[in-house]
Symmetry: C2
Subunit: 462 residues, 2 copies
């Protein structure tokens, strides 16, 4: 078996898969400030209507426009790879496959949705797109996509990443985007936060608030906001990962994997690989599906499933999701892309339904796994990705103990070439593990008590 399993362009999926069509309970609707479901029109100042239509769609399959595929071909179909040298090192009977999303121009899975979103904005007549970014993966992905379509791009980057990862900012500039540290002086909300907490490392929640403000306050009406994770349409665009992977597994005679693993910050990387397999699980296939998060930001494993705002300034609709409370500011761990207080509603409802079984891991264990990866598979992974790799190693060792030839597949969400300061901190012994104290958790989730509660009847099927 070749290390790389390659699809031809002709075999690229021509439709995205929408999990909302198949969830046992209907997806809980986003709510407005009055507690009532919001209407598409209410989102119109923030997103173009063609994207809003995708956001609320319950259609199972949605066509991918040819213009989007034309750009995706720059790196897609992405290879499915087998981690044979890691398998050999672990002496495991498990077969380990990974969907390599690091091969895109910005080096992560993020452009799968960036390209789609910029296309829909352009078709809708939008000329400028604003966004926030955590680790910089999303900001550079949107900058890249905007450059391919000739659209203006403004990125609010969480300050701690802006400082730790200057190269991501330079990438955005090569693709002609403007990138500022958030909180910034460019928005009212940013100025307010800076006044209250001048030394804040920032957070995704704060940066989202700034980017949304920038978009909705443009009086020409030609600016919209773009979100790189969390929302339904983002999950949708990412499913090309899992749809490709299913075809690639079939190419090597594998009908279904036993275990699917992905790291989850806002949820889109996990969802992209997992949702097409979740569809099989809903139809009866025996598949364990595991989203992994850092112990320092334990949204899925310790947060509440509740209605909460997506941002710190409470400007977004209320979404039914696992959350640590919208005012939560995570500890400055190096996996910046996993530092978010909430999680994609589609992923969360899948957790509530029992489709997905989340785990959390400490960062030292994850870096240890990343170093082992570099020494066996050769490549240097993103710190976010290392959470998936550490879980894969756990499962491969378990398969060895049980003597089972399990098929494990995970999402290799990005390379770590822009994240070497984190490796440096780890290798020089400067990193520590951090577990959120119970009292801090209680405090940060206390903001949820006066908000509406989601109404889901647990099926308990899985």
């Amino acid at each position: 078996m070749d290390v790389k399993i390659q699809l031809k362009e002709a075999d690229i999926p021509k439709q995205w898969y929408n999990l909302a069509a198949d969830l046992p309970n209907p997806l809980q609707p986003p709510l407005g400030p009055d507690g009532k479901p919001i209407t598409p029109e209410m989102l119109a100042p923030v997103f173009p209507m063609n994207i809003i239509e995708q956001e609320v769609s319950t259609q199972r399959w949605i066509d991918i426009p040819e213009e989007i595929l034309d750009i995706l071909y720059q790196w897609r179909p992405a290879p499915l790879r087998r981690a044979m040298r890691l398998e050999k090192y672990l002496k495991t009977p498990a077969k380990i496959f990974y969907k390599d999303e690091s091969v895109s121009p910005p080096g992560s899975h993020k452009p799968n949705t960036a390209v789609a979103q910029v296309y829909y904005n352009k078709v809708f007549g939008i000329e400028k797109i604003t966004t926030e970014t955590g680790a910089g993966q999303w900001g550079s992905a949107l900058a890249y996509a905007c450059s391919q379509f000739g659209i203006e791009c403004k990125v609010y980057m969480v300050r701690i990443s802006f400082d730790q990862k200057p190269f991501r900012k330079l990438m955005m500039q090569v693709w002609d985007a403007k990138c500022v540290a958030s909180p910034s002086e460019d928005t009212e909300f940013g100025r307010k936060i800076l006044k209250e907490m001048p030394d804040t490392p920032g957070s995704l929640g704060i940066a989202i608030s700034e980017a949304v403000e920038d978009a909705v306050k443009d009086e020409t009406g030609k600016t919209r906001y773009s979100l790189g994770s969390v929302l339904n349409h983002v999950m949708l665009h990412q499913t090309i990962m899992g749809l490709e992977a299913k075809k690639q597994l079939k190419m090597v005679g594998i009908d279904k994997p036993d275990i699917v693993i992905g790291c989850a910050g806002g949820g889109s990387n996990f969802a992209g690989l997992a949702f097409p397999f979740a569809a099989d699980k809903i139809n009866g296939a025996d598949i364990e599906i595991i989203p992994v998060e850092p112990t320092a930001c334990p949204t899925m494993t310790r947060g509440e499933f509740a209605y909460d705002y997506g941002d710190t300034a409470c400007m977004t609709p209320l979404m039914a999701m696992h959350t640590l409370g919208h005012a939560f500011v995570p500890a400055p761990i190096h996996a910046g892309g996993l530092r978010y207080h909430g999680m994609a509603p589609l992923v969360c409802q899948g957790i509530v339904e029992g489709l997905f079984k989340p785990r959390s891991l400490h960062q030292l264990k994850c870096y240890e796994a990343a170093i082992l990866w570099a020494k066996t598979e050769g490549f240097i992974c993103a710190p976010e990705t290392s959470h998936a790799i550490a879980t894969v190693i756990d499962e491969a060792v378990k398969a060895k103990e049980e003597g089972k030839e399990k098929v494990i597949i995970f999402s290799y969400s990005g390379h770590g070439l822009m994240d070497l300061t984190g490796y440096d901190a780890y290798l020089s012994g400067k990193l520590t593990d951090y577990e959120l104290p119970e009292e801090d958790l209680n405090k940060s989730t206390s903001v949820l008590k006066d908000l509406p509660k989601p109404q889901i009847k647990k099926t308990g099927k899985w």
Copy 2:
């Protein structure tokens, strides 16, 4: 036609191609300090004997051991890609293909020889390998290869790159190598240079001297030196690029390219793609083959074809090559991998024979080409690679003017994700072009006048 043309592992070349077997004049031998050809035994303290045998071989085809292929499969066969969006932007009838060497774990073509060299050292019983690195591409490639075989690695990195590219140093550390700035305090020669020129930006010549000294002074006999370019065995290992590319062109029905282009610092990237096509040219095929260098370090276009040392301290054998003189210290342009006073003897003799037609380019034009590349093809290239891209654009525009459907192929030697400070300097207007003044050239080549002269009868065939 797919953007990516993929070979299966089963179709990877099983032998390297040795141009020394086919050059019209026999390759000029390296000379010792006495002016007489050196013997393999004289190189034994520096390189293991199995590599020395390859260095002096005139056998046309040399088998690639399975153990080397097993590691190369981590990224090889590398894709041949078609730059369709650049073609469209340029409105050229030319078809532009590029051999994508950026997909390796260290992000360049360098591991093609690093993996081979570390394998041969290991088989020979060597436990530690020393080397120098310019831009850091080679150092990280050797660090990577050593990590895959469990061999100790020490890298002397040219100070200007060490300072400009801290992330390359961190990459080497992830792969467990020790990396120091050269000139360093770790060798006699380094200490001498630091005393004379404490502020020197360093040079590849100085770093080579340090790495060789480190290897030959190890009394256990278990340390050897490794060179990432220039030497015959390095060119040999790189030919897998061109051999794969020929198969890939055939897959899309192209019998031969019209133009082959590669950037050349020490020559290995250019040679890797070009030599297999040069074999066809020797046999009568009409192919224009163009190595490209920076105007600031014009080895091939303005240097003398002469016997010269490969390093600044005059520790290496004398090699017949184009050279700017072994004491030449290039201006600090950002394409660090192209800052070398000499050039691979095999490439140079090919130039003398008329097989290759070198060009030089200014760096501003190259960065301009790199930005256009990022906006059309999406990917961010290494500054070295931009020299090839700028030449490709020149040739594609020429093909348009001539109305000819030429096939152009070039080597995409590496990505630029570790080189964003150079882009930053360019985008903020801090870079300038530099042309070596005639009097400086004369001064730097004056060291050649007392050295032996190569004896080549020009065939003038091409």
